[in-house]
């Protein structure tokens, strides 16, 4: 470490010699000048660690020299120690300190006192330098932050603001209240012009009983918001297309007949999910009606489109006179041959107006519930064939009795499936819910309320209910 340097100014050669000797013995490097003007120019030319000035000098005295050192930008940080050969009145001491002198000592001064005083001045100077550097570093960092940052006092007045904050709120923002920040602090967001900012407020820990300060940080989130909005819009677009598609999947109205009452219902999945590939249909064929319910695996436009193809293809097969099992076999060929979809489930019931016998083909679809007029509800059949999608799958008809006064509930698995439970439990709940309710609409309402509740289900649900009228 280099030896500390002292500039010593005294017009009295002997006095200067005594002080200079004391300082050199204490380890300081001393530069001597004999008048105030030389002192000022020496300090300016090469700022020492400490300047020691005698008060009484001809021409420029110590007070004036000190004033000039302290008023110059390059030298005001140099500590000044004033020495007086004689005791001065308090007024003079005050004058000395008011010129900016850091310490005032009266001669005769003892060597240890002088050296200790100078070292103390240097320590204070070093601390100040560190604080000044830290402040400069902090300021640079503060300004470099692209977020707009400000420190507010307890009343919301801006105490300090970085460059980005001033760019947003004006150069003169320090010392004023920014009302817009109050709004932002409540909502967490603030719009400035065409930009959107997130608002973050940090509390500076209370110190020495001062009212707490707040650090407010505004981050520009315009771009993030925009892409979020675009995603949401795209989502709504797909949802709209899917819903439209889904509507086209379902018959506009069901055939009405005094021999058979029908009621259908489609329940959309919860908002986050897009439509599923659930559909139902009623086809007039074979001197009776085919009741159809199906479900294509997956969600969204693809599933809805695939369901539409299956629905319309089945109508074509029915009108061309193909039987139940043959129609389903052809649908399976359509699915596997065109890779229309990986998998779909479907159930078709063929009802005849002049027979109690119902023919049914199920391609891996959950069994319909039969509610006999005079008995407890139950699953209509226990047997079924495999889902649509397996190459070469074989389908067979099964039959059961559907007498006047009996009712049937066809549904898709969204009604009975619950994560983490056996599907049989859901089927059991459905069968229970079908007991003791008259009519079709009331039954549907009760079933949906019991199994789904008020909320939108996780998956789409389609329901088709039928009742054979008594004559």
């Amino acid at each position: 470490m280099r030896a500390p340097t002292i500039l010593l100014a005294d017009d009295d050669d002997i006095g200067r010699y005594v002080i200079a000797t004391m300082l050199r013995r204490a380890g300081f490097v001393v530069t001597e000048v004999a008048d105030g003007r030389s002192a000022v120019s020496a300090v300016l030319a090469s700022p020492p660690d400490v300047a020691v000035l005698d008060v009484k000098m001809p021409g420029l005295d110590g007070f004036e020299a000190c004033r000039r050192i302290k008023s110059h930008e390059d030298t005001r940080h140099v500590p000044v120690l004033m020495l007086s050969a004689t005791f001065l009145e308090t007024d003079a001491q005050v004058e000395g300190l008011e010129t900016g002198a850091d310490v005032y000592l009266t001669q005769p001064v003892e060597a240890p006192v002088l050296a200790a005083t100078i070292r103390s001045l240097m320590r204070a100077r070093n601390l100040e330098t560190e604080v000044r550097l830290a402040a400069a570093e902090w300021r640079t960092t503060f300004d470099a932050i692209s977020d707009a940052v400000a420190v507010l006092d307890g009343d919301g007045v801006v105490v300090r603001a970085n460059r980005a904050f001033m760019a947003a709120f004006g150069e003169g923002v320090v010392g004023t209240r920014v009302d817009a920040l109050d709004v932002g602090r409540d909502s967490g967001e603030l719009a400035l012009g065409d930009r959107t900012h997130s608002v973050r407020v940090d509390l500076v820990p209370d110190e020495l009983g001062k009212s707490p300060r707040l650090v407010v940080t505004l981050s520009d989130i315009t771009v993030a918001r925009r892409s979020e909005r675009e995603r949401a819009e795209a989502f709504v677009r797909e949802q709209t297309i899917s819903r439209t598609l889904q509507q086209s999947l379902l018959p506009e109205r069901l055939p009405s007949d005094e021999r058979l009452a029908l009621h259908a219902w489609h329940l959309a999945a919860e908002q986050e999910l897009i439509v599923g590939g659930d559909w139902y249909d009623v086809i007039e064929a074979d001197g009776g009606l085919w009741l159809v319910i199906g479900d294509v695996a997956g969600h969204g436009i693809a599933a809805a489109t695939q369901a539409g193809q299956l629905r319309h293809s089945l109508r074509v097969y029915a009108h061309e006179g193909f039987g139940l099992a043959e129609s389903v076999r052809r649908l399976n060929e359509l699915v596997t041959g065109t890779e229309l979809t990986d998998m779909a489930t479907m159930c078709i019931l063929a009802l005849s107006h002049d027979s109690d016998e119902v023919r049914m083909v199920s391609a891996g679809h959950p069994p319909p519930v039969l509610i006999p007029a005079g008995g407890p509800p139950r699953l209509a059949v226990e047997t079924h064939d495999v889902v649509l999608g397996v190459v070469g799958a074989h389908y067979e008809e099964s039959t059961f009795t559907f007498a006047p006064g009996d009712r049937l509930v066809l549904y898709t698995d969204g009604l009975v499936e619950r994560p983490g439970e056996m599907i049989d439990d859901g089927l059991e709940r459905l069968v229970q819910a079908c007991a003791g309710i008259e009519g079709l609409e009331a039954l549907r309402l009760h079933v949906v309320t019991s199994l789904v509740g008020d909320a939108h289900p996780r998956d789409d649900v389609a329901l088709l209910l039928a009742e054979r009228q008594v004559h």
Binding site: G298, H299, M343, V387, V391, I423
Partner: protein, 107 residues
């Protein structure tokens, strides 16, 4: 809620591999399974698909198996499936896939 993550573990077994499926297989896990199955089939060795540690399967998962089954049949590639726990196997029974897929006799 901490949902069981779907995971596929590949184990060498003799001349082929066993794919052990764990966790919940739905739309999210379907692409991974599809890839693992295709890879195993293309490698040509014997394949056993072990569902015994699977906790849930939905129609997307079944769909992947159906698609794989069709491809395997077309290529004359033989594989076998070890059934899952009751709540998983029930999905195969209800969809009729318990009859269509080559389930190994239960040990």
């Amino acid at each position: 809620m901490n949902l069981p993550v779907f995971k596929i573990t590949t184990r060498e077994a003799g001349a082929g591999v066993v794919l052990v499926l764990t966790g919940e297989l739905d739309l999210a896990g379907a692409p991974d399974l599809n890839e693992a199955l295709t890879e195993a089939r293309e490698a040509g060795g014997a394949l056993t698909l072990d569902l015994s540690e699977l906790e849930f399967i939905d129609s997307s998962g079944l769909g992947v198996l159906v698609r794989f089954h069709n491809a395997a049949e077309a290529a004359g590639y033989e594989y076998s499936v070890i059934a899952g726990p009751p709540q998983v196997h029930r999905a195969f029974v209800l969809s009729g896939l318990d009859q269509a897929l080559p389930f190994a006799a239960r040990a």
